[in-house]
């Protein structure tokens, strides 16, 4: 049955393509070789220079992605690796978007150099993070998807700043395979052939490497150059696809997974089959869209469709990988040395937060430059600023609080609300509201966003909570939901509706839109969360010690875990409404708290909560003043000030 899968899918893809081709021209009127564009009828040109190269490009791009995914999975021994999950594709996206807006001249000769630089930089970052944990699959995947999220967030903000070239960006972000001549085919083909040869040559040493580093070294293999070379090849193949057709997600994940079921014996055979499977998957996806468009449906970019399969695929793959991966490699950092006086640190943090909030309340930037508020303006300005600062600080505290819960719950330092998928679900809820209701007000948007977050949470519960809720499972399930939400949003953007601007604006997040009532409500919720965290301090102390210890100490895990997940999810959903889906405050704040030496649960959660508020106060000030009078996106600013620091922290080898 599984053996027939690939040929059947290939046949179906061919039938779909043929249907689209026949809708253009009956077979008798097809152009005869040699083609001369000057003498051909328009439908003949559509076929010979549109549909035919498109079909071939789908095959080639799919094969390239399948091969790249196969190589990445082989070298990292990680069944979840592919150009999408390792951040490679998003790195290329950010580079191309930035070049399109800031230096369009760089793209005149083609996007490949720019895409390659971005893809390489993002992958290098993920690998540097992964190397600290022996390339443990789940950790590398989470690091990759975080880097990808960050790159996409910056790309979104850049897109937002200039609508000028938006159309080309939207199409590129969506991964459109439409062609108007054969140049794309030649370019991709010229890369695929040497790529296949190189992969075949590398297969044998890779196989030896999979025996284990000791055995490989014994056989005279130099591991570092081998790993590096294979990764460079995979990144190059993926960047080539990005440069030519844009973002096409998850084909590199799907292809090797399909091959896994076919029972190929050697790695060389698996790699070649991965290329074939990738070609079939992408052709099938493109065929479906072609047929849809031929029937009068919308013209969606193909990448948006393949993005949709990514989330379910990740969830499906997850239980299948457990047996092959040593779990010890996934465990978190050794804790930093304990601070002797946690109380003093907490008071210091609280004082710093309040002081900064007050300082940014009266200080700022106006048309005349920097300075403090003039007395005459206090009445107008103070309420405006107080609202924004309070809202930002509360959102930061909410995100950081839920990040602290998740990190304790999963004993994984990479856990964060962004990773939980709640922000992704909330984005979908917001988008749905914008499209379903004409000119929606704040209450409608708030309800839609919270409902989206809650739905994501429900989906997560069904999948992850049902079984014993392994930390890795819940994180990846969350990321899968996030990836799914991202794919839907891309499809919405690609539909070119003006309302997509509203969503794009929200994706970047802003404090300027909050009403005083909204800010007070957020503050009340943040205080409520702090209370809940303190009440749950004992559980949070015990949970990281593991299931057995927790049970032995009498914790009723079946209730406590879902309860805590729900709390984290709701807190995230509320904060997301304000700052947009990406901020990384929920990831950063608990890290900072730990690095201050706050190990016990109660000081740790309080410090996380405070640091979250502090970070957001700083971010809000920066967002308000850096580009005066242009309010920069709050979430983006928080990401930009915090993430580089976070990466440095993760890169530092833990001294244990």
């Amino acid at each position: 049955m599984t053996r027939l899968l690939l040929p059947l899918a290939a046949g179906l893809a061919a039938v779909l393509w043929l249907a689209a081709a026949l809708a253009v021209l009956p077979p008798g009127a097809w152009p005869a070789r040699p083609w001369r564009a000057e003498t051909m009828e328009v439908p003949q040109i559509l076929l010979a220079y549109g549909l035919m190269p498109r079909g071939v490009v789908a095959l080639l791009a799919g094969a390239l992605l399948g091969l790249a995914g196969g190589l990445m999975q082989a070298v990292l021994r990680n069944p979840l690796a592919d150009p999408t999950t390792l951040g490679t594709a998003s790195g290329a996206q950010l580079a191309v978007v930035a070049a399109t807006i800031l230096a369009p001249g760089w793209l005149v000769a083609g996007s490949l150099p720019v895409a390659l630089a971005g893809a390489g930089a993002a992958t290098a970052l993920v690998m540097a993070l992964g190397a600290r944990r022996d390339f443990a699959p789940v950790t590398v995947t989470i690091a990759g998807m975080l880097v990808g999220l960050m790159a996409s967030a910056i790309a979104t903000a850049l897109t937002l700043s200039q609508g000028h070239y938006l159309l080309s960006l939207v199409m590129w972000n969506g991964g459109a395979l439409t062609q108007q001549d054969w140049t794309g085919v030649w370019r991709l083909g010229a890369v695929l052939l040497p790529g296949l040869v190189l992969a075949a040559l590398l297969a044998r040493p890779l196989m030896v490497m999979s025996l284990g580093s000791g055995a490989a070294r014994g056989l005279g293999l130099r591991l570092v150059p081998l790993r590096f070379g294979v990764l460079v090849l995979a990144v190059f193949l993926s960047a080539m696809v990005s440069a030519e057709v844009g973002l096409v997600g998850f084909v590199g994940l799907a292809a090797p997974a399909i091959v896994q079921g076919l029972g190929a014996r050697t790695l060389r055979r698996r790699l070649m089959l991965a290329a074939v499977a990738g070609a079939v998957v992408l052709s099938l996806a493109d065929g479906v869209l072609l047929a849809l468009a031929a029937l009068g449906g919308p013209d969606l970019p193909t990448g948006a469709l393949t993005g949709l399969i990514g989330g379910p695929l990740l969830i499906w793959l997850l239980p299948r990988m457990r047996s092959r991966v040593p779990t010890t490699a996934e465990e978190g950092d050794r804790h930093a040395p304990r601070a002797p006086h946690p109380g003093r640190i907490l008071w210091g943090l609280a004082a710093l937060t309040v002081a900064l909030a007050l300082l940014t309340l009266i200080g700022g930037r106006g048309p005349e430059g920097w300075g403090f508020i003039a007395p005459a303006l206090r009445e107008t300005f103070l309420p405006l600023r107080a609202t924004a600062i309070l809202a930002a600080a509360s959102a930061g505290a909410l995100l950081a609080g839920s990040g602290a819960i998740l990190q304790r719950l999963t004993a994984n330092p990479m856990a964060a609300p962004e990773v939980l998928g709640v922000t992704g679900g909330a984005s979908l809820g917001y988008a749905a509201t914008v499209f379903l209701i004409e000119a929606p007000g704040t209450p409608a948007l708030a309800f839609g966003t919270a409902a989206g977050g809650a739905l994501a949470l429900a989906a997560l519960s069904v999948h992850a909570l049902r079984r014993d809720m392994a930390p890795a499972r819940i994180l990846l399930a969350g990321l899968a939901i996030g990836a799914f939400a991202g794919a839907v949003l891309t499809a919405i953007m690609a539909s070119g509706d003006r309302r997509s601007w509203v969503i794009l604006g929200w994706l970047a997040g802003s404090a300027g839109r909050v009403t005083p009532e909204g800010a007070l409500a957020l503050a009340a919720l943040a205080l409520g969360l702090l209370g809940a965290l303190l009440a749950a301090a004992r559980w949070l102390e015990i949970l990281p010690l593991g299931t057995e210890v927790s049970r032995a100490l009498g914790l009723r895990l079946s209730r406590i875990r879902p309860g805590l997940v729900l709390l984290a999810g709701l807190a995230t959903g509320v904060a997301t409404m304000l700052v947009g889906p990406v901020s990384f405050v929920g990831l950063m704040a608990p890290h900072l708290a730990r690095s201050l030496g706050l190990v016990r649960a109660a000081p740790f959660v309080i410090a996380s909560w405070l640091i979250g508020a502090l970070l957001m106060v700083i971010a809000a000030f920066g967002a308000r003043t850096a580009g005066y009078p242009y309010d920069l996106p709050l979430g983006l600013f928080a990401t930009l000030i915090g993430t580089p620091w976070l990466f440095v922290l993760l890169l530092k080898r833990s001294r244990s």
């Binding site: 108007q180 013209d299 106006g366 430059g369 107008t380 929606p440 070119g496 300027g512 005066y628 009078p629």
Partner: protein, 292 residues
């Protein structure tokens, strides 16, 4: 450093009263009100009425596509979606011009000054008549007596343009914006430019429903359905698309491209007011005449 810009509460009260009677048919006080504009179509219309706003949102981009340059010293209010409320307060406006598109910030705007807002662009509806009506309505709100006169002038200007292009009115125009070498956007019958075309006695070749003034990104091959049309490309073409179009087999095989029936216009705000429509009309007439 910053001066107190508050002034004239009586005038503001008067304006609030004028706004309260639904669009305000009552002429307001004699002094010209200080106007802040979030929506560009509103800003353009106020400028056409001879009352340029003292502050406009996204002034940097507005300058690039505005039908007439904003007055020197105009204050930038930041992004249209998230206007800077502090900068807005500093300009001490008597009235803030907005549209339904920014309805989510209206509560905050209303705390600063009375807001005049309209539904200008609705999916599936031609915006042109509403934008024409906006001229006298806005004039009434701003206490300007010029409303009907400006509206008549616009009608006269379009009639003159119709005479100029009468010789080429036999062919439909396909209005588009280039995205990349394979995708375009087409302006349909719910776009500002469609209204301008009609006012000039020309026809839009694109009759398929569009989603919101721009059709969804359309693959280039759909252009093959319009062998008889004139192609009107609005705005700049991205450099990499320009290069790919020069060599592209499909693009160069399209009958209008082969026959040279392709006209390029500069960047014009597709969501602007009647002044933008008029500028589009003039640019199009110039382009058609220079090609003839």
């Amino acid at each position: 450093m910053v001066t107190d810009g508050r002034r004239g509460p009586t005038r503001r009260a008067l304006l609030a009263a004028a706004l309260a009677v639904a669009g305000g048919a009552r002429p307001a006080a004699a002094a010209t009100p200080r106007i802040a504009a979030i929506d560009w179509a509103m800003a353009e219309t106020a400028m056409a009425l001879g009352q340029p706003p003292v502050a406009i949102a996204e002034l940097v981009s507005f300058r690039l596509s505005a039908p007439q340059p904003p007055a020197p010293g105009t204050v930038d209010l930041g992004l249209r979606g998230t206007p800077n409320l502090e900068a807005l307060s500093l300009t001490a406006p008597d009235v803030i011009l907005s549209s339904e598109y920014y309805s989510f910030v209206e509560p905050q705007l209303r705390r600063i000054a009375p807001v005049f807002s309209r539904n200008l662009y609705t999916p599936g509806e031609a915006p042109f008549p509403g934008l024409m009506d906006l001229i006298p309505d806005l004039a009434a709100v701003l206490g300007s007596g010029a409303g009907e006169q400006v509206r008549r002038d616009v009608g006269v200007a379009f009639a003159a343009l119709a005479v100029r292009v009468a010789g080429v009115a036999d062919r439909d125009c396909l209005l588009m914006e280039m995205g990349d070498a394979r995708h375009i956007r087409v302006f349909g019958d719910d776009s500002l430019f469609d209204g301008a075309l009609r006012a000039m006695g020309l026809r839009n070749a694109w009759s398929a429903r569009t989603r919101f003034a721009f059709a969804a990104p359309v693959p280039l091959e759909r252009l093959a359905d319009f062998p008889q049309a004139r192609f009107v490309v609005i705005g700049d073409v991205p450099p990499q698309a320009e290069r790919a179009l020069r060599t592209g087999a499909l693009w160069n095989s399209l009958p209008p491209v082969r026959a040279g029936r392709i006209h390029r216009l500069p960047e014009i705000n597709g969501f602007g007011g009647i002044p933008s429509a008029l500028r589009f009309g003039r640019d199009l007439a110039d382009a058609l005449e220079s090609a003839a």
